[in-house]
């Protein structure tokens, strides 16, 4: 193993140790909840980064997959009372189907056109969730879902485990030939096509993988909240996920996950500021974005670690 590889492994081990040890050490129901949400945000940001970071198509409707997974869980477990563990595969399947449905027609769209198509798709689902109130509970949503794991600490470890698995799986794909092709598509799609690469297949498959993990995160979120609301499809959620990935460092996957955790913790630390909280939060973000154009977490680590990527 190279020197940089060793340092990467050491960094990951320290980070994971901290994430695993902090909640039981703080030993506070509320903070465990904060960490659960952090880890779920990490899953969302990593899955966004996998598609958008690698292919360079900014997805402004990631909440479509998150909400899809969450509502799948709500219907199966909340409305029909099925075992909550069924929610996980169901949420993934629903998110993948949504990804394929949106992926096919919007494939050839580029840049802002793709961003708007995704944004519109998520907004349509949100409207449908509000307007079909007979089935979806309208703006109130569906509540009364069961928890997957009784103790919140136990649930935290489940979510953390899934976060680690998400980052590992997505990073492995990103390192494989598939990931290289995704980056090639970002660079020059026409050239890829000319070289005989099935661009369509890779774009759709990548969006589906991204959707699958986002939907999984959506299920975990719904089962944790024990409720879903139309805000699970909100533009604001999509935008927050993008900001997390950007702060983490676009295209790094693990960095995006850290960005999600970091921003959530920061928001929590600012809680004492009352109504000024979000104002200060966005002001800090503005400064970070202004001075660190490549993002914060992953570039900082690269500098600390030294050596080649």
């Amino acid at each position: 193993m190279s020197a940089t590889g060793k340092r990467n492994a050491a960094g990951a081990a320290v980070l994971l140790g901290l994430l695993a040890a902090l909640p039981p050490l703080i030993h506070n129901q509320y903070f465990t909840g904060v960490f659960i949400v952090c880890a779920i945000d990490g899953i969302w940001a990593a899955s966004w980064d996998f598609f958008s970071g690698l292919t360079g198509r900014e997805n402004f409707g990631h909440a479509l997959f998150i909400g899809g997974g969450a509502y799948a869980a709500a219907f199966l477990n909340g409305s029909f009372g099925l075992n909550p563990w069924f929610s996980i595969p169901a949420g993934i399947v629903v998110a993948v189907v949504l990804g394929l449905l949106v992926g096919f027609p919007t494939l050839r769209l580029r840049g802002p056109y793709f961003a708007l198509a995704m944004l519109a798709s998520a907004a349509i689902m949100q409207q449908v969730a509000i307007n079909l109130w007979q089935y979806t509970g309208g703006t109130e949503g569906i509540y009364g879902l069961d928890t997957l794991v009784e103790s919140s600490l136990g649930y935290y470890y489940l979510v953390l485990g899934i976060l680690v698995a998400t980052v590992v799986v997505l990073s492995l794909i990103a390192k494989s030939r598939w990931g290289t092709l995704m980056r090639a598509i970002k660079g020059d799609e026409t050239a890829c096509q000319a070289a005989g690469i099935n661009v369509t297949f890779y774009k759709i498959a990548s969006l589906a993988v991204s959707a699958a993990f986002a939907g999984l995160g959506g299920v975990l979120f719904a089962q944790y909240q024990q409720a879903v609301t139309p805000s699970d499809f909100d533009v604001f959620l999509s935008i927050s996920v993008i900001i997390m990935a950007y702060v983490g460092g676009i295209g790094s996957i693990w960095g995006a996950a850290c960005g999600g955790i970091l921003l959530n913790l920061m928001l929590e630390l600012l809680r004492g500021l009352g109504e000024y909280r979000l104002w200060v939060y966005y002001l800090i973000l503005m400064v970070v974005l202004y001075f660190m154009r490549e993002g914060f977490v992953a570039p900082l680590w690269r500098r600390l670690r030294g050596g080649q990527a």
Binding site: E58, P105, T106, R108, L109, R110, G111, P112, Y113, L116, A117, L119, A120, S121, A123, I124, Q127, V128, N131, V235, F236, I239, I242, I243, Y246, I250, E275, Y276, L278, W279, Y282, L283, L285, M286, L289, Y290, R293
Partner: protein, 284 residues
């Protein structure tokens, strides 16, 4: 029928005002300005502060509000956007965060309740047997005049030609002695002023709330994309299509589904015409 025509025209005019500014700054400077909705909200809140709180005369407060929004836009371009112009994603993020920050400032200063901006024209007018409230008609007239003036400015004046030159090729324009950076700031000011003016004149018949920028942003974005990024006629055409279809659905079907119908229309347009109705093919 006439009612639908008039209300549709008013909605379209406001949409067009928002969309033209948004598409202008993209067409000229390739800046996808996600703070555009915030300009609109800022305009409405300035109008509210000057009229309802400071009791200034309407015309003075309207001009002041538009001026403030224009200065805000230019300052944002100069301070935040220009240093990041190398990366389009960085520009996108910084304008987005600017919008969110401004939204929070408005929320902290004015609270989350919606505010009432006094109308400029307070009586209903009779148009061909249909009674329409005066403010909406005024909004329609002002929108048409402002967009017309902008069009003339770009097509007929020297400065307008400079803007067109920069939009075609900033580097070549620079060689011809056109200060591209100053043009960007100017266009951002114009674009912000237009959005601010939309906020001022639409304020009296819309609810003025800190979160109003999000809806405005998404609608402007949709109109511009459907029309084709960077195309002013395309934006106006798309504004009319979306404005009239929203009004039609609200009148003849169910107001609850207006949002959904226009969103589906947007998605369909994108699928059928990937570069919008009148857009050039962009490799953004």
């Amino acid at each position: 029928m006439l009612t639908v025509l008039i209300y549709g025209a008013v909605t379209s005019a406001i949409l067009a005002m928002l969309a033209v500014g948004f598409t202008l700054i993209f067409g000229v400077a390739r800046i996808l300005n996600l703070a555009h909705g915030a300009f609109y909200a800022l305009g409405a809140y300035c109008a509210y502060s000057f009229t309802a709180l400071l009791k200034l005369p309407l015309i003075v407060s309207a001009l002041l509000s538009v001026g403030i929004v224009a200065v805000f836009g230019m300052a944002m371009e100069r301070v935040l956007v220009r240093p990041l112009r190398q990366s389009s994603l960085a520009v996108l993020m910084i304008t987005l965060v600017t919008a969110l920050t401004l939204e929070q400032v408005l929320f902290v200063v004015f609270g989350s309740q919606s505010k009432n901006v006094p109308a400029f024209v307070n009586f209903p007018l009779d148009v061909g047997g249909v009674s329409v409230d005066g403010q909406r008609l005024l909004a329609l007239v002002i929108a048409v005049v402002l967009i017309g003036a902008l069009w003339l400015f770009i097509q007929r004046t020297r400065l307008g030609s400079a803007i067109l030159a920069v939009s075609q090729d900033p580097e070549a324009a620079q060689y011809m002695g056109i200060p591209a950076n100053r043009i960007f700031t100017l266009v951002m000011g114009l674009s912000a002023a237009l959005a601010g003016a939309a906020g001022v004149i639409a304020g009296p018949f819309l609810s003025v709330r800190p979160t109003m920028d999000q809806t405005a942003m998404i609608t402007a974005f949709s109109v511009v994309i459907v029309g084709g990024l960077g195309s002013i006629p395309g934006s106006i055409l798309a504004a009319c299509i979306i404005g009239f279809s929203q009004t039609l659905v609200a009148f003849y079907f169910n107001p609850e589904w207006t949002g959904t119908v226009s969103l589906v229309a947007i998605l369909l347009t994108l699928v059928i015409r990937p570069s919008g109705l009148m857009g050039r093919v962009v490799n953004a």
